[in-house]
Symmetry: C2
Subunit: 219 residues, 2 copies
């Protein structure tokens, strides 16, 4: 499943790419609209036309990334009707990793922005992040209820999961320069998804063998 | 073990606390030296005296936080001589969580800054982060060698570990407002450390029972 963030026009697309790149290297406050226009090779007037100003552009980046993000996780949540909680959780992990890989400049910019305490981010927390929590929580609770998952502390599990999923895209520079891993390559995501699958099987799921051992012992 | 970042004078301490707070709410570029001086209730001249300018202040925040951080992990690494790799890894996890809790404003500011692509951060990556990688890698490799740990992919495991450890302190607002968890309370760290201990025991360590089962089966 490949979800690319919607970019309606060529000019808009160029502005979005340039802005995400500049915000990642120089920070939001360190970047001017003029620089974005130069980098995108468009008129400053184009930016005003599409996004009003720099704040409007940032808001657009954040909400378009998170719209796609939320739809990916909603997709896994909806599958709870026909699949096990474990399968839904693994589907979520795989699709979110690919979504971040496919939109890596934007992912980095938005994941970084979310750590700041601003009016925009307060809104994001009460909308997108609350929705995200609802979906993950539902998957985890279903798994616990159906005795597929251990009795987990939901917030702590969400925290661990989100930490592991965002790490490669929030810190691409650390990834490439210290760990020598390329988070934007399919090879990496495939391998990392397998690692997270091991985490799900061993730490989240109830052990199958253990229940087998205990039945043998009690007989 | 409580390690507090060294603050040599009362004035310096007030400036550091004010700067960390303002950088977290308004961002580095969005904060002026004048605002820091006002918040810290000191003279602008004091800031120039101790830190030169805003960049010097940021550099001081980053390096003093990471000095303490590195000493915490070095402490766990040194214990490899007398303890098992599992014990060293658990000691590292517990002490880093407490270190971040005890310096939470600073932790948030530095963890956030590290995601940016700047000259300062490039230096941090080649010094502190490379050292940190060496220590964690050594602990993991010792555990693998002594057949206490599974055959892990080292960079991927470091990534997961760091993701889980930094999440509560990089995103305190998300923690409190969406997950309703207080990352700066001892109660939280104790509980979260237990969760991570479970991860170490189940996902990192080789299962003890399994080897027991297989010996029984082969008999």
């Amino acid at each position: 499943m490949t979800v690319k963030v919607k970019k309606t026009s060529k000019t808009k697309e160029k502005v979005i790419d340039a802005a995400a790149y500049l915000f990642n290297t120089k920070g939001f406050d360190g970047t001017s609209v003029r620089e974005i226009a130069r980098k995108a090779d468009v008129n400053v007037a184009n930016i005003s036309y599409y996004f009003d100003n720099k704040a409007g552009l940032l808001e657009y980046l954040v909400s378009s990334f998170l719209d796609g993000y939320t739809s990916v996780i909603e997709h896994a949540y909806v599958e709870l009707d026909s699949r096990s909680a474990r399968e839904c959780l693994l589907m979520f992990i795989k699709n979110i990793m690919n979504y971040q890989k496919d939109n890596n400049q934007l992912a980095r910019c938005v994941l970084r922005e979310i750590t700041l305490d601003s009016v925009l981010i307060r809104e994001v927390l009460t909308t997108y992040m609350t929705k995200e929590k609802f979906y993950i929580k539902s998957i985890l609770e279903t798994g616990i209820h159906q005795q597929e998952f251990r009795k987990l502390l939901i917030p702590h599990t969400i925290m661990q999961l989100k930490g592991m999923l965002t790490m490669p895209y929030l810190h691409p520079q650390y990834m490439t320069e210290v760990l020598h891993v390329m988070p934007n390559e399919t090879y990496f995501t495939d391998q990392y998804v397998k690692e997270l699958e091991r985490w799900v099987n061993l730490t989240i799921c109830l052990p199958l063998e253990k229940s087998f051992i205990s039945t043998r012992t009690t007989k």
